[in-house]
């Protein structure tokens, strides 16, 4: 049965952001035939716009569905999202203003651009670019899952060819305004999206505990096994190292994703980036509170309510949040909340497709296919690639089983972290050799993929260190191998023939 009130509110809000997406082309007008104008908004976003843009970019619809869903299903372990968001901002503060500065100085649009200039090694830059594209694709596809779940929760049949139609419409809208307005569109929509998300989350954390009789009652309703991490068995660090390495590894990986870099490079100064490192944790607080919504869903008992049986069957635990909203809120507010989630999918999906398009165009098309291309050709290429990427994500979600998209997203984290030595260490030191970094990257990439496959695509691999079992997030373990290989080989290769003269950057570019 279709929930008409919710659906009408949903469609109205969706229409509003579509309109905003198109008029965004005229905002802070720039020449959209230039890649840095279309793909970075002309590097003109100040503190507040950057705050909304990066916030809308990092805290995606999928996060809003999946983190509470994991709390709902697995309990305390899912709360690693909180220490993860605690650690990302000190990293942002220290490291990324340097990237902003050098990128501004040399006109870099992607992290692979920087690596190309710093190490003068086009194959290393190609590896960085391909890793970014590969890691982002499943991420875009997962955003669609967020839209699918809320559409299903409003009673729209999401199976079959006709059921796919609403999702196709949403993505055609997304593709059209990204094509015409570039990064300005998600930046402007992010403001509306975040207001809706904040309203929804604040309503949930006030109304639901009132309904349950306070936070104490809510936590009392949680089974003890879900309330805390399980104490590790003898001879193992168990859930403790799982929790800590998941948080640390995810934090190190986050700002290496192309869409994060796009958000950072589009800001108007390194100072804007630093200010945002202090201001963005407001989103983390929201994410932490939202994680607790998963517990609220347990306490309210949505799983045993007969009206939600079909939903849980179709979307498993991802249905927990929508079910809670349906159970607690009036229909019109359900429409607002669901619109917030769906629009929350559009913003990061738009930024991700722009970021991957920038990467493909700059680091593959211009570098390897058509080095003589004009600036107009370059930005035209990026616009077309952004369409192809979105179409690919859509096909991905229709053709490939959902579980497979999850595996790929997990592997995406393992892969993207392998770019850390070239990108982050590269910002600080030129002691590393470009070829050594490439071999380190390949070692980490292969080892990480093998580890993930050998534990059936769980995120954590049990390392055995001096007789103790240390379950460790695969991304972090494979990164260590990558760094060691890159460092040792750099010593050898630099002794034979140093490639340091290929560095086009100088120390003052980084300040």
């Amino acid at each position: 049965m279709i929930n008409w009130t919710a659906l009408i509110v949903f469609v109205l809000l969706f229409g509003l952001v579509t309109w905003i997406g198109f008029i965004a082309a005229h905002w802070r007008r720039g020449d959209l035939t230039m890649l840095h104008e279309w793909g970075l908004g002309g590097r003109r976003f100040g503190t507040i716009v950057t705050w909304f843009l990066i916030g809308g970019d990092l805290y995606t619809a999928y996060t809003f569905i999946a983190v509470p869903a994991l709390m709902f299903g697995a309990g305390a372990i899912a709360f690693f999202a909180v220490p993860y968001t605690v650690m990302i901002y000190p990293i942002l503060y220290i490291v990324f203003p340097r990237l902003w500065s050098v990128a501004r100085k040399h006109g870099y649009v992607t992290s692979a651009d920087f690596v190309r200039g710093r190490f003068g090694n086009r194959w290393l830059a190609l590896a960085i670019a391909c890793t970014g594209i590969l890691a982002t694709m499943p991420y875009i596809a997962l955003q669609l899952v967020g839209i699918q779940v809320v559409l299903g929760a409003m009673g729209i049949e999401t199976g079959g060819l006709s059921g796919d139609l609403p999702l196709v419409i949403a993505f055609v809208i997304l593709a059209a305004f990204t094509y015409t307005s570039g990064l300005r569109a998600p930046a402007m929509i992010a403001i509306v999206k975040d207001l809706l998300i904040y309203i929804t989350v604040i309503a949930a954390i006030i109304v639901v505990p009132l309904h349950l009789g306070g936070y104490g009652k809510m936590f009392a309703a949680i089974p003890p096994a879900k309330l805390l991490l399980a104490a590790p068995p003898a001879g193992s660090l168990g859930s403790f190292s799982t929790y800590a390495t998941l948080a640390l590894g995810s934090a190190l990986a986050l700002f290496l994703y192309p869409h994060s870099i796009t958000g950072i490079l589009s800001s108007s100064s390194a100072r804007v980036v630093r200010r945002n490192a202090a201001a963005l944790p407001a989103y983390s607080l929201m994410l932490g509170l939202l994680a607790l919504v998963g517990f609220m869903a347990i306490a309210v008992g949505v799983q045993s309510m007969p009206e939600f049986t079909a939903g849980f069957k179709a979307y498993s635990n991802n249905f927990a949040v929508p079910a809670l909203f349906l159970a607690i809120f009036p229909s019109w507010f359900v429409g607002v909340a669901f619109a917030a989630i769906a629009i929350g999918a559009l913003v990061p999906a738009a930024i991700m497709s722009i970021a991957t398009a920038n990467t493909f165009t700059r680091n593959i098309y211009r570098e390897f296919i058509n080095p003589a291309c004009t600036n107009v050709q370059e930005s035209q290429m990026a616009k077309i690639v952004s369409l192809v990427i979105k179409a690919g994500a859509l096909v991905f979600i229709f053709v490939i089983p959902f579980q497979f998209a999850l595996y790929l997203q997990l592997l995406g984290g393992v892969w993207i972290i392998q770019t850390l030595p070239a990108v982050i260490l590269g910002l600080y030191t030129r002691l590393l050799n470009g070829w050594a970094l490439l071999i380190g990257w390949a070692s980490g990439f292969c080892l990480g993929t093998w580890m993930a496959a050998s534990v059936n695509f769980a995120p954590v691999y049990p390392l055995h260190i001096f007789g103790t079992t240390v379950p460790c997030y695969i991304a972090l373990a494979s990164l260590v191998v990558n760094v060691v290989v890159a460092a040792v080989l750099s010593l050898v290769l630099n002794a034979v023939s140093s490639d340091r003269h290929k560095d086009v950057t100088v120390a003052s570019d980084y300040a």
Binding site: G46, P83, Y89, P90, Y215, A231, F240, A270, V272, R274
Partner: protein, 76 residues
């Protein structure tokens, strides 16, 4: 291009202040310390309110470091 003339001046890194940024890492990576229910805070187990509190504390630390590095006379 930018409305503020000082916008592109670099921060002057203050090394000891930057060390403060390590504190949040220690606080949240030391899992056995906070994997407990007591003391609860208005019904919320320690595990949850401790970590949520660190979101606010780490933001405050970053704000302090930012202030120190952008003081008047330091390019601010």
């Amino acid at each position: 291009m930018s409305a503020r003339p000082d916008e592109h001046l670099p921060a002057r890194p203050v090394a000891w202040a930057r060390l403060l940024l390590l504190i949040p890492f220690v606080a949240v990576l030391w899992v056995p310390f906070y994997n407990r229910i007591e003391p609860t805070w208005s019904g919320i187990p320690f595990f949850y309110w401790y970590q949520l509190l660190w979101i606010i504390l780490s933001a405050a630390i970053i704000a302090v470091v930012y202030r120190l590095e952008h003081r008047a006379g330091h390019g601010a």
